[in-house]
Structure formats: C-alpha cells, structure tokens
Symmetry: C2
Subunit: 246 residues, 2 copies
Amino acid sequence: MTAHDPVIACGNCPIRHNAICAECEADELSMLERAKSYKTVPVGTPLARAGEPLSHFSSLVKGCAAMSRTLEDGRRQTVGLLLPSDFIGRPGRATSPFDVTALSEVTLCRFERTAFERIVRDTPHVASRLLTMTLDELDAARDWAVVLGRMTAREKLAAFLLNLAQRQRSVRGMARPSGKILVALPMSREQMGDHLGLTIETISRQITALRKDGLIEVPSRQDIRILDYDALAFEAGDDGDGAPIA
Amino acid sequence: MTAHDPVIACGNCPIRHNAICAECEADELSMLERAKSYKTVPVGTPLARAGEPLSHFSSLVKGCAAMSRTLEDGRRQTVGLLLPSDFIGRPGRATSPFDVTALSEVTLCRFERTAFERIVRDTPHVASRLLTMTLDELDAARDWAVVLGRMTAREKLAAFLLNLAQRQRSVRGMARPSGKILVALPMSREQMGDHLGLTIETISRQITALRKDGLIEVPSRQDIRILDYDALAFEAGDDGDGAPIA
DNA sequence: GCGTCCACTTGACTTGGATCAATGCCGCCG
DNA sequence: CGGCGGCATTGATCCAAGTCAAGTGGACGC
C-alpha cells in the first residue's frame, strides 16, 4: 500500500503495529503513544449505542464484540463480528450507526476521537492503513450479504463456522486451515441467530444436523470442532477457489 | 474531514469534484486531469468480473450498475447498486472480488490503477475523500444486511424503493423526499430479486400488493410512483428517526 | 447431593416465500 | 398490422424456516 513496510510491532494493537514503520520519524510514534490508552471491559458491556456519540476511536486488541441493529419490534441483526484488529468508530463522524456489545471480556486500544482525526490527517501511513482496513471490511460485509440473502440455514451455519475458524487462526498467524479445528464460539445461540438471520431453534437444529452428518463435534456449548474442513467448505457453497466467505 | 473544503466542481466526477480544493497547488489538479479519461458503455456491459484483473479505478458518472456474486448453482446476490458518485475498484488490489454489470448506459471516469495509487499516496485530499466514501459505503452495506437478514419480502421491497428514491434524489441535490415521487427502476424484476434475496415471482406479488394497498402506482415496468412516502417508510420498518435504510 | 435456573434441544404445527405452471402484456420486426 | 419472443403477472402447490410448546442437562447455590 505504502512505500514502507510495517516494522515496529506492538502486541495486538493494529494501529501502531501496522501503521508505523522504522523508516519514519520517531515523532509519529511518540504522537501515537501519547494519544492511545488501553481499556478492558467485562462481557456484556455496551461499547457503543446506535445514534449516540462515540468519544473514542478504538481498535479491538483482545476478545470479541458484535455490531448490531435492533428494530422496534425486537428483531435484531448483527452486521459485524469484531475480533482483534477490528476497529470501532470512524474519523469524521461523532456517532455510531450501530450498537456494539462485548461478547467476551474485551480489551480496547483507544484514541480520543478528535486526536485520532488529527493523527489520520497528519500521518499518511495511518490514513493509508485505515483505508486498506476499511476496504477489506467493505469486501467482507458484501461477501456476508451473499450468505444472508441467498444461503440456506445449513449453508449459513457452515459459512459462519468457517469464517470464525479462519479469523481465529489468522489472528494466531496461520493461513487457511485444514483437518480438525477447534472453534471457540464467543456467543450464545441467540447471538449466532442474530448474526445469520435465523432463529435460535434453527441454529440448534442445524448444529445437530451437521453433527449427525459427521462434519462437526460439539464438545461443549461454546466449542465446536470442525472434523472435515473441506467438506464443511463444500456445504457452505465454497467451491474451494479461495473466494473468502467474509 | 480535511481542513479544506472542496471548491472546484467537475460535473458528476466525485474524485475531482470532492478531492481538489482551490487552496491547494494547481499541480494536483493537472495530475488528476492528465490521469483521468471518460468512457461510456452500453447497457449490459460487464465492467468487472470476479477474480479477474481490473486495470482501472473508476467512478460512475452517469447511469447505474450492479455489483454481484453468482454461486456455482446459479443463485445470484447483488451486493451493491452503483449510482453516480459510486466507485469501482480500489487502490492496492488488482482484482475485483465481484462482478460488476452496467444496468443502463454507463459513463465512467477512469484512472489507470497504478497512476491512481500514486495519486492516493501523494494527494492527502484524495486519500481522505476516498476514506470517507469507503466508510460511508461500509455503513450502507451493513445497513443492507439488516434488510437481507431480518425483513419480510414486503419490507424488503419498501426499503428498496425508499433507498432508490433517496439516492436518485440526492444525486439531484434534494434531501429526504416526501409526498409523491417517481422512482425509475433501472433494472428487471430478476435483478431486483437478486438485490433483495427474493425470487422474481415474489417481487411481482409484493409490487401488486403495495399497489393494491394504495402505497405505490406502477405507470410502467420501469417506473414506480411512491404515493405516500411516510407510509412506505413505515412498511420498511423505518420509524422515521432518520436512520438511513442503506 | 439436591434442587433450581437457564440456555439449549427437540417435537408438532404453521406459514412465508420458493417452485412449478399457465397466462398476460408489450415492444419489435417483418 | 400481425405474429413472435421475452418479461411480467397470477395461480396452485410445496417446503424450509418460524412459532409455540415441552423436555434436557449442565452449572451453580444452598
């Protein structure tokens, strides 16, 4: 993206990790250092509420959160699952268009919003990195539209498990996995339903079906072991051409 | 977003229109001028194919296009409707993740990809504008997920008509409309179905239903007149709080 | 160790939208 | 002007997922 490769790493904080490079002045680094602060919150904490002001731009360092919208009659749709390296908020807008809720204990790397806007404006590496991240999120959101609009319940569940497996692995630095993979479900069946546009009962039935078909094991409520990655990818309508399912 | 307001306008081309400002050097302007070229193609032209290289970054100046993915079994989902000011392609990636097809005669303002990447890198205003546009598209894509995941066929159609009405008006510089509005449908029933995750028959039935309920008129196959904007917004689950339906 | 609670699972039935099958309508071309 | 072809509408039926209603089972407190 830029002429500089990221060099200086900083734990799981993607802003500093990806946006600062050794060739650039130390000023940028110290500016980011001064502006950022870490915060850890327990499971269930609302990190943002739709329409309400958001004082910080944050990047998720640890844990898992869900971005969702709830209609007046109670129907809820999760529009994004946030895992480490994903961000909350945006420069140039004071309010969040969605609710964001911590699905587990969550650690955030936070930047006060106006300070962050200044950083984005003055630091081409950060702006460039943020653009790349946003474009990637956009592609992922559009991929997910295919799942929501055109897939059966079984395909939706398979796509979800594969997506989760890939993202959990990629955080740990692994490429496309294969064979048996233990996937940690950081959410209840209800939240899975909200993510996939299904009811809790349908989620439950499809988990049972995939289990009976030998594609997955369910060691506990919050874990699913994928027994045959490629077979599950086939169920998800992924023809194996590497097209990412979100 | 930036310290500079856009001043120089250029027809419907959003890059130059929004990204260049009178306070900045003339160099930026002439660089963009040299790099860009216009191209007009007839209805049905493929503007991009999923997985295949994309030589240009383009912005849509006139007409309408659909971004879609087709599964192997023929199921298709439109993941984005492109209207004037929307863009095709992205810096930093040579291939398109989706098919893009012209739904009408389309005029593009095109920048050769590597030249555009240089412009984005060297011109903070363009980069900043592109980031804002991408963040807006991301919000819109996530809003659409609520429609696809949680709405009934009737609600989906209502949301679609409202969305189209708003976007067609906003191009012409109007805010949220009300009363009777003629919406031009730049697509077949099949393409509407692909956009909403419904079949052609369901689209047809729901149009008939909304017409019989006095919410819309159907003067021709490619036009729908909204008779009561607020009532239609109610059908779409829009509580009128101004929350955009995509 | 025993009850209680709550999330999950399973079963029975309903229903919204898909599917299959005509039929209608309009534009176009000879 | 008349026939042809493709899109759109309408009707009849089917089925996947939703809804409503019991169970189950593991975690936790007492």
